[in-house]
């Protein structure tokens, strides 16, 4: 059983999951009647272990640990928007331009961020600090325009306060893609004392 072991994979590539990650995965697997169900959690762990995105080796490691075909893991990873198949910037700004945000200025906010960062949405700044993408409704429409960065939602973002937001992020380590994957992994694990 690959889940509990560590070391070198059958394909010769090195595993990157830490001992801690191996333990976390084993515990999450125990929540389900079959290991395959831990596919999404395993991809979250991998996204953290591989520094915020999922290179082919990460998908391979998940496949081997869960004993599933590589193609299946890749199929799942590419279906969901929050798994990063390519690296993202240290801060991934996801601007909601969906219905109600779009009528209270979301496109202006997006345009302003593009202007200030000098990139188009879908791109990453040269220094690797910021990636900007446009996303569907983040379900906090009462605070439009909403921008998600890592595990945090910023509400009521306007063209006026965009600069403050970017400045705050530049000085922060809190909302990185790997940090998001770490938080999500922890949420799926009971705290000490509980089952």
């Amino acid at each position: 059983m690959a889940v509990g072991s560590n070391g070198v994979s059958a394909f010769g590539s090195s595993y990157r999951f830490s001992d801690q990650a191996v333990k976390e995965l084993a515990q999450i697997v125990s929540h389900y009647p079959e290991a395959k169900a831990a596919m999404l959690p395993a991809l979250w762990i991998a996204q953290r272990e591989y520094g915020g995105f999922l290179p082919p080796e990460a998908l391979k490691e998940v496949a081997e640990r869960l004993e599933r075909p590589y193609s299946e893991v890749e199929g799942v990873a590419t279906f969901y928007t929050m798994y990063n198949i390519r690296p993202k910037g240290r801060h991934h700004l996801e601007v909601c331009t969906c219905l109600t945000c779009s009528v209270v200025g979301a496109y202006d906010v997006m345009h302003e961020i593009e202007h200030q960062l000098g990139i188009h949405h879908g791109e990453t700044t040269k220094d690797g600090e910021f990636t900007l993408t446009e996303v569907e409704c983040l379900d906090w429409c009462s605070a439009g325009t909403v921008v998600q960065v890592g595990s945090k939602y910023f509400g009521n973002v306007t063209t006026e306060n965009v600069k403050d937001l970017l400045d705050e992020l530049r000085g922060s380590e809190n909302y990185t893609p790997a940090g998001l994957a770490d938080t999500i992994t922890k949420i799926q694990l009971p705290s000490q004392g509980a089952k």
Partner: protein, 443 residues
């Protein structure tokens, strides 16, 4: 009619998200009472209450609960659909963030009455803050003996886990959610009458109960106060209270809990009235439901039957108001972009049709609309609606059809004059005027 706070009664109590404060305000007395009752008696209370699913379809909750087999030859599962993704809706997110124990308590009661031993809260991946609150609540409930082995000394075992999504609207569709929970792409499964009912054969071919966050949150109140008490609120067939998420051009956007059957215009008043102009339109139940023009808003009452009679739906309760700066064609262009992006790709009418609708609306809004485009749009809607594998396809067709029915002249204006009938300051802005390359990029 003002707000009627049942779920939200104690939402402003500081610390209500902790088990101590929740219990101090009557929390977990529903579960304590439930475990002294016969399992069927709990289901009967839910039946008497008339509670209907709050996830969008309004299906009677007790029918699902009662449909779970009464023997345990297989493990029974209880799942919470916390994948809230419908544009305009943000009630489940707030419920979990601020009242996480109400969900935990409701699910434990559901577990007890359906003989389930395992439960999963499937939470939308983006909802990290809410999920952290649910995590903490589950840990606290274990420590207090409300979850785990031999709950409240009654020999009832129930484990509750959090399962995080990873970004997909389609995973809110219940059979797609089950696929995702089992580690697959979030694509739907064959449903009754062609496939099995989840209550008989859901996840891992076992009896599975799946309800929305708000549905579970209603249950402790119903058990504690009795189904009859709950059924006194609301209308003949739509009972109790409902959370409505109000957004758009209103002075005080937010979640409001009102009695079922409250007039739409009273909800608007609660939210501080329209801002930045006069009322032009309302989409009362999330972006999938038909749009209502201002002059008909006064005829809409917010219960399942009255909303349907007025040509729209209560849906998930995502109520969006728009002022007269709003360009309906641009709004529908953005709506169709949402469905095109979220279509899971499993069936052709939806996968292709949603993209065609978006492309045609995008062409119209780029000044390239053709005579006949309106008929073409309607034709595509007819070919998607009722011919798709799951409800997403239907939901992509309804808003477009309703917008053309109610605002046909705006579509015609766009096609003829190649500009917005509302004027250059319309919202949403004409995308290609803001930035020539602003269209959605796949992540």
């Amino acid at each position: 009619m003002a707000e009627l706070k049942l779920l939200y009664k104690h939402i402003d109590v500081p610390g209500i998200e902790t088990i101590a404060q929740y219990e101090a305000n009557g929390g977990y007395s529903g579960l304590k009472k439930a475990v002294t009752l016969d399992r069927q008696a709990v289901i009967d209370e839910v039946k008497t209450s008339g509670l209907r699913g709050r996830g969008g379809a309004g299906f009677p909750t007790w029918i699902k609960w009662n449909g779970i087999p009464k023997d345990t030859s297989k493990t029974h599962y209880v799942i919470c659909n916390a994948d809230e993704g419908e544009p305009g809706t943000f009630k489940d997110r707030e419920l979990m963030l601020r009242l996480p124990h109400m969900l935990v308590e409701g699910m434990a009661i559901a577990g007890y009455s359906t003989l389930a031993t395992k439960g999963y809260v499937y939470i939308r991946g983006e909802f990290v803050e809410s999920a952290m609150a649910v995590r903490k609540a589950i840990d606290e409930a274990y420590a207090k003996g409300y979850l785990g082995k031999n709950i409240l000394g009654k020999g009832f075992d129930f484990d509750l886990y959090v399962h995080m999504g990873a970004g997909s609207y389609e995973c809110g569709e219940e059979s797609a959610l089950m696929s995702s929970l089992m580690g697959e792409r979030g694509q739907p499964r064959l449903k009754a009458p062609h496939g099995p009912l989840p209550v008989i054969s859901g996840v891992w071919n076992s009896p599975t109960l799946i309800n929305n966050v708000e549905t579970y949150a209603c249950v402790p109140h119903i058990v504690e106060n009795g189904g009859e008490w709950y059924a006194k609120m609301g209308t003949e067939r739509s009972k109790g209270t409902k959370l409505f998420s109000v957004s758009g051009h209103v002075a005080k956007p937010g979640n409001y809990e009102i009695e079922m059957g409250t007039p739409l215009m009273e909800l608007l008043e609660l939210a501080g009235g329209i801002s930045g102009g006069n009322l032009k339109a309302c989409i009362p139940g999330g972006c999938s439901v038909p749009i209502v023009p201002a002059d008909r808003c006064a005829s809409v009452n917010l219960d399942y039957e009255a909303a349907a009679a007025a040509g729209t739906m209560v849906g998930s309760g995502g109520c969006m108001f728009f002022n007269d700066r709003t360009d309906i064609v641009l709004l529908m262009r953005r709506t169709s972009e949402f469905y095109a992006h979220e279509s899971c790709g499993k069936c052709t009418p939806c996968r292709e049709g949603t993209r065609w609708i978006f492309k045609i609306l995008d062409r119209i809004c780029s000044g390239g609309g053709l005579q006949g485009d309106i008929e073409l749009l309607l034709n595509i809607c007819d070919q998607i609606d009722g011919r798709s594998y799951c409800g997403l396809g239907d939901a992509a067709a309804w808003p477009i059809r309703a917008a053309i029915k109610n605002y046909r002249e705006e579509f015609e204006y766009w096609i003829e004059h190649k500009k917005s009938p509302v004027g250059p300051n319309c919202v949403p802005p004409v995308p290609h005027a803001v930035n020539p390359m602003l269209t959605l990029t796949p992540a």
